[in-house]
């Protein structure tokens, strides 16, 4: 069958991401299978859980990124959340005793960073606010829960994180005014 060509010729360039994914998929899968097997074989603490989560973090943040709303706010928050979860797991599984103090401080750093990034590109980022709202909300909630559980320990990191989250949320609400309500309405719609 002879086809009259009416489309542009194929370009020599490969799709970079597709090529990278096709190559890296197999080492990732191999590592994901090998880690738990080796862990079970040699025994000891469940370090493979940390390895698996780290692999997932690299996969989702570098290789197979978000398909909707890939922006500075969402990516910063995603990174901070992964770091906090990994730190917590390291504490629980490998070296206990410090995460309850360190994690809220990392979270606090994430709040400051994401709020600064939000306000330095306000007009654009105000349409990308959902991850930040959830991040601040969980900052307040998490701090309140932690304070009620560990009130006899060193609790200032939670006070700092919780109050900063609340402050940032208030500042964002004031800055956005009506837009904040509009944004909430569309972000939480069920239509």
């Amino acid at each position: 069958m002879t086809i009259k060509l009416t489309y542009p010729p194929k370009s020599k360039m490969r799709s970079g991401r597709r090529f990278l994914l096709s190559i890296l998929r197999w080492p990732f899968i191999a590592a994901a299978i090998a880690c738990p097997i080796v862990n079970l074989a040699v025994g000891g603490p469940a370090w493979s859980i940390i390895a698996l989560l780290s692999l997932y973090a690299v996969w989702t943040m570098v290789l197979s990124t978000d398909l909707v709303e890939y922006n500075r706010t969402s990516q910063t928050i995603k990174t901070v959340v992964f770091i906090c979860v990994l730190l917590t797991l390291i504490d629980v599984l490998l070296a206990p005793g410090w995460a309850a103090f360190v994690v809220p401080l990392v979270y606090f750093g994430g709040i400051i960073l994401s709020t600064v990034l939000f306000f330095t590109n306000f007009e654009k980022q105000k349409h990308n606010i959902l991850p930040l709202i959830l991040f601040l909300f969980f900052g307040i909630l998490g701090s309140a829960v932690a304070l009620s559980i560990w009130h006899e320990h060193d609790f200032w990191p939670y006070i700092v994180t919780g109050s900063t989250s609340l402050l940032c949320l208030v500042v964002i609400i004031i800055s956005m005014g009506q837009d904040f309500l509009r944004e909430l309405k569309r972000r939480f719609h069920v239509k």
Partner: protein, 497 residues
Amino acid sequence: MEKINIAFYEFLESLSDGEREVIQHFFSEFDINFAVSKAERRRFRQDFERAIVALCERGVPLSEALERLSLKNLGGFYARPSIMWFPLDDAAKIYPISMEHDRQQMFRLSVYLKEDVVPEILQMALTFAIKRFPAFATTLKKGFFWHYLDAVKKRFAVEEECTAPLGAIKVSMSGSGSFRLLYYGNRISAEFFHVLTDGTGGMVFLKVVVAEYLRLLGVVPSDRGDLWDIDETPTLDEFENTFPKVERAKSGSGFVDRRALQMNGRLSRRRPCRIIHFRMNSAQLREAAKRHGGTVTAYLLTEMFFACSAATDELSGEINIQVPVNMRKFYPSKTVRNFSMYCGVRIPIDKVISKDEIVKEVTEQLKVKADEPAMQEMITAAVRLVSSLRYIPLVIKQPIAKFVYGFLSEKSYTTTLSNLGVVTMPEELSRHIERMDFCLGPMAVNRLACAAVTFGDTTMFSISKMTADPSFEEKMLSLLESEGIEAEVEGSEYYDH
């Protein structure tokens, strides 16, 4: 960019003082029409400058060019910040959930003009026409429960087609659109992510853009017919989710189906890896359909059953061809959002023997499965499903829906035939249009998808291929030719590396 500015300044220098003053006056109100960033405003201005030069180079007097490009055509669209948003319609909700990096539910509509496209004028046509389609001037966003479309006021750029068609649209960045408008030689193509619209809605949009393009070139129809007027104010019913408005059937069904045969051939990495069009005389096609006692759709489906049989080594099992059904014919609606459902025409492969019998069987199945009661049941099922999932956070819904839709749903059919039917344009505009085509986008499991559209006396039957195996199209062509239908074959190279 520099080159373009130089061209405009050279053009200015060639004008008289009076004409320069006219241009200065034209741009005096420019800034207040664009409440966008400085860089974006500069790009808009350059579009206008390029269009003025392009029109004048075609011999249009300056005053006439400025009149055609009048800022009034913007209708204040870019002068206001964006506050609108649109929930996804019930059919569209699955698309962002099930998409992948290199695979989106896409389709493409093209208009072939009798002359090469003037890109500068096409850009202005899009800039002027987009205001009539506020749901298209949007960016996809992620809500807590569902995705939605957020209005965005930006310059939607036309692009020269330089890569394989129907590639995924990058919808992840802030403000990125869900459609692209392309040109290549004499062809204007609109590629849509299905989240925005269906074939009917997409065609309304493309017709408006082409009409606006031709208006800018001086072709004005005396009677617009069903062509939308870009100066009219958009109304809610044009962008509504019409599914919930359909009266519910007593029971909802139609989504789950048995597995169907798949054609053979290794799936390509790049999908679709090739586009093939059969350019046919619509009268010959109608005549062949009439000879066998069916409609054009039934006849094409019949030939497809034979071609599918030739493209698989299986000797038993059922071939199931999915046929999208436009709901507007049962429930009149002006919406340009998705408002179509589908049915499956299913025939065992060992029964694909006599053409006349297959036409009869297909016609009967279409009569039952593509009729209002069946469609009403399917809509009811869709609306119920969406309603039952509405309070489940997206983060939970997404992985489940992705698996179910991407893996299971396509396995229940062999291929698809979407026939948009006869598309018309006002007489004066038709004189400048050669033909149209319609292509479906990538599939996960199916080896190909077919679409057809008729404009004037030309029917374009398009095959979007997901495999290099040429069995289907070769058989299809020989079947059509054996019926006396002359088909010119056009298309793309094989794009997979």
